[in-house]
Amino acid sequence: MRRLTPYLLIAPSLIFLGVLFFVPLVETVALAFQGGADNFARMRDDLNFNDAVTDTFAIIVIVVLLQLLLALVMALMLRHVQVGRGLVLWIWSIPLGVSDLAAGLVWLAILTDRGYLNTVLAKLGVISGPASWLTYETPATLLAAIVVAELWRATAIVLVILVAGLELIPKEFGEAADVFGATPWQRFRRVTLPLLKPSIQTALILRTVLAFEMFAVVLSLGGRNFPVLMSEAFNWQYAQQDYGVAAAYAVVVMAVSLAATAFYLVLLRSPAR
């Protein structure tokens, strides 16, 4: 009976997903492959495909790495906050409650030609009037802008997972390390980090998978200038009404997400206890 327990425990979720999600999923994937590889060929020949691929990867690699670092620093800092720790955690996780639309909107208001950033820069005398950061003539600043906006919007996802994970590391382990004369850095590297590995793995997987799927902020700031895989999939589905090519893009997104997940699973492997 014991052997069956894990399968019994995962069965409800599998049945649930199967009925509600996998059935339509299989239909749609079949649609992508209808007529052989035609849809994929159309997708690849599209003028935006190459840009979409490079843009998506650029964003994901930069943003996910930065967010992991930032969230780790914030989670560790939180441990040492003595007064109002709950309040600080709440403030730092407020962006979680902000919808994509509102996040895109506010960062556009900050970074647009006549926005808040330029107001401050003009007051400081760095620029003389409204300056463009988000056009097709300024691809580097556009990328930086999107990175900053995404950093603001989604670091809280990683933060919440890491905070919950950190809380479960028994204080005694760290104290023992102190007794043996470990420096804070050594304590972090030898005690905290390994025990945090499952949480880091989970946070990276979820954040990366989500990142492949999100495009609202990119669309707000970049318009047509910054295609990503997901925005192209959306356009093919809804603007061009070509469900086949849209499904092809979605299959690509899925394949790459799963590949990234497998990568994290192998890299950050922890045995079950």
Binding site: L47, D113, L134, L219, G223, A239, Q240, Q241
Partner: protein
């Protein structure tokens, strides 16, 4: 926590409400204020009760198709643009409205508009609801820079380019704007304004020498355009913010600017090219899905919306104008008056070249638009040579036309069979 769970389960178990309301699904009048006006002002005097539901245009065909496949129909009346109703025709999802059309004959809806509502078949598939077009708006501060001898209401594209250059020279900023953002209507500019004005057609002259010259000129004109244009979906925001002084857009998307600051702006027709002043009307229509729960109530609602008084109320609310014979009252707000005047001047211009909406494209309308937008992106934004791009995109266009077998539409010369792309 337990209480809310119980409450929730109780709500879920409640039986579905009895159907008393006519469900009116619309892709127009979506923003919160406009939907409120629809409910509180426009639908006020209707004899039945209406549940007004808004829908994002891309989701309309998905929903209709899903309801048809799933066998559950919830919608009595669909209100949408001509281009948005077109995919529904190829899905065979609309009920014929011939008897309703006959009963509305005394309203004075022009035959040309009724013909569009037939989509090339023998049945009336939608009743025209409201119409609009695209205009240009300029901040009065830009007027001093108009080229010598140019008449604002009869500009040419060359004069527009010179105007934008003059503005840039004197102010140092690029203040001409186009709605080239992801949800902008830039494709209509190419399909209904630029192409007809330079080549006299839309599909057949796609890669003609006139088209090549046109793109070269437009790429030069783009040098005076605010580069944020690829982010603009609605020109009213940049106009109000002063980022743009001269703009082209659908009247409903500049109306806010005209209404808020009518003394700061002027509205005028789009420019003309060597072959005339091309313009494209926008037409919204009302249709009844097949197997609608209450088709009779739907027909009553359509008849109500086609009354002159209702049409005038709609015009006041959203800047879409009546299709029936209705005199707009003289007490319109000044911003709306500006827009109306520009539209009238467009329609009555001596060199006006009306371009019809595509009729036979079915579900491929979006792909058709993409051909023109991709051409724009490659030639104007990425600086590629027009000849090579036009030849390449013409192949895609040819494929779409042959696969849909759509015949040519005005101003292209009529074709037998699919519209050719020589």
């Amino acid at each position: 926590m337990i209480r809310s769970v119980v409450l929730g389960l109780a709500l879920l178990a409640a039986p579905a409400l009895a159907r008393a309301e006519t469900v009116f699904l619309s892709t127009q009048l979506r923003p919160v204020e406009e939907a409120q006006k629809m409910r509180e002002v426009i639908l006020k005097d209707f004899s039945g009760s209406v549940d007004y539901v808004v829908e994002l245009p891309p989701q309309l065909p998905v929903r209709i198709k899903a309801e048809a496949e799933g066998g559950k129909h919830t919608i009595d009346v669909v209100g949408a643009l001509h281009g948005e109703l077109q995919p529904l025709v190829s899905m065979n999802a609309l009920a014929p409205l011939d008897s309703l059309a006959a009963s509305l004959r005394d309203r004075g809806i022009p035959d040309s508009l009724m013909a569009l509502g037939r989509f090339g078949t023998e049945h009336q598939l939608y009743i025209p609801w409201m119409q609009a077009t695209y205009i240009m708006v300029a901040n009065k501060q830009a007027l001093p820079f108009l080229p010598q001898g140019a008449d604002l209401n009869a500009l040419t594209y060359d004069q527009l380019a010179a105007w934008a250059d003059a503005v840039q020279e004197k102010t140092g900023k690029r203040l001409l704007g186009f709605p080239a953002g992801p949800q902008g209507l830039m494709h209509r500019f190419f399909e209904g304004f630029l192409y007809p004005s330079y080549t006299g057609g839309v599909v057949t002259p796609f890669r003609s020498p006139e088209a090549e010259a046109m793109w070269t000129k437009f790429a030069a004109l783009w040098k005076g355009v605010n580069p944020n244009s690829t982010n603009y979906n609605f020109m009213q925001e940049p106009l109000l913010a002063g980022d743009v002084w001269i703009a082209f857009d659908h009247i409903a998307r500049v109306l806010d600017a005209l209404r808020q600051k009518p003394d700061d702006f002027v509205a005028f027709p789009a420019p003309s090219g060597p072959k005339g002043r091309g313009y494209m009307p926008v037409l919204a229509g009302l249709a009844i899905p097949k197997d609608a729960p209450d088709a009779k109530a739907g027909a009553d609602l359509i008849a109500y919306l086609a009354q002159p008084a209702t049409q005038i109320a709609t015009a006041r609310a959203v800047g879409f104008f009546p299709v029936v014979k209705a005199e707009l009252p003289p007490d319109l707000d000044p911003g709306l008056k500006l827009g109306v005047a520009a539209i009238e001047r467009t329609q009555s211009a001596k060199d006006a070249l009306p371009t019809l909406l595509p009729i036979g494209l079915g579900q491929r309308g979006g792909e058709f638009d993409k051909v023109y937008m991709d051409t724009f992106q490659l030639i104007v934004l990425r600086g590629q040579k027009p000849r090579a791009v036009l030849d390449r995109e013409a192949e895609t266009l040819r494929r779409i036309m042959t696969e849909t077998a759509a015949p040519c539409w005005t101003p292209d010369p009529a074709s037998t069979g699919a519209c050719p792309v020589p």
